[in-house]
């Protein structure tokens, strides 16, 4: 199980590197789709079926949006990267970040022993033990999402509403009533 997950993660990382590095935008978008579906399978392996489903749905939407943005453009192949020096600095810095993060991650509880096992005071323990009695939902994710932490879900819906409203505002045909006289300057 852990080996399988590791392989999947390596697949995702390779997909991510290709997505970031390829010169063709459409290929890049498709690679990010592969990474997303990989994530969905990983969620399934980690016993999170609800998240896996949402991940697939959202992934499809993201792909549609991204392909919509790229496909009808004449210029999908892209020219070079930033200058060489900047690249080297960035890579060295990120490598340091990675090594530092690795050192820190050694202190995390080992994989497979979540906080609910080691810490007595976790609210998640309450959810598992009395979620069914409290909320009547057999699926505890739903009981957390729609009952214990319903306020977060309200926020989530609002984020979506805000983003759509914002996209509509950005994409509207005419933004100003007066002639855009300063545009030409």
């Amino acid at each position: 199980m852990i080996e399988l997950l590791g392989l999947l993660l390596i697949f995702m990382i390779i997909g991510a590197i290709i997505a970031v590095e390829t010169r063709d935008l459409l290929a890049s978008v498709i690679c990010v789709g592969a990474v997303g579906f990989g994530a969905s399978i990983a969620f399934l392996l980690l016993r999170a079926p609800d998240v896996a489903i949402i991940q697939i749905v959202v992934e499809v939407l993201v792909l549609v949006i991204l392909i919509r943005a790229t496909i009808s453009r004449d210029l999908t192949a892209i020219s070079g990267d930033r200058e060489f020096f900047g690249m080297v600095v960035a890579i060295v810095l990120l490598f340091v970040v990675f090594l530092f993060g690795m050192r820190v991650f050694e202190h995390l509880p080992p994989f497979g022993q979540p906080a609910i096992e080691t810490l007595a005071q976790s609210p998640a323990r309450v959810y598992i033990e009395s979620g069914l009695r409290d909320t009547g939902a057999a699926n505890l994710v739903t009981s957390v999402l729609l009952d214990y932490r319903a306020y977060d879900t309200l926020g989530e819906a609002t984020v979506l509403f805000t983003a759509i409203l914002g996209a509509l505002a950005i994409l509207r045909k005419k933004a100003r009533k007066r002639k855009e006289d300063r545009e030409e300057e």
Partner: protein
Amino acid sequence: MLYALCLLLFVVGLYGVVTKKNVIKIVISLVIMGYAVNLFLIMLGYREKGVAPIIDQTTEAAKFAQTSVDPLPQALVLTAIVIGLGVTALMVAICIRLYERYGTFDITEMRKLKG
């Protein structure tokens, strides 16, 4: 080990955001960073030989409490995924509009702003 791979995915995304100059590439890199964090959260809740946090009639409550994975990170990730979708949609809307204005996705060619 798995956490390290997750971190590597995050760093790949960060690398893309920092070094790429195509706006769609930057969006993609941000999406990848988001995936890495979501995956990390779900991994935190995983329990060895655990079951999904869905109660069925046949298992008894005590045994379920011993084996179920943590439902809280899953709920958080559901929220985070949808938030990520919202941000991506807005970002792509701005990208499309920028393309209309400049005829390119390259940020080095968008230089109305000084500095």
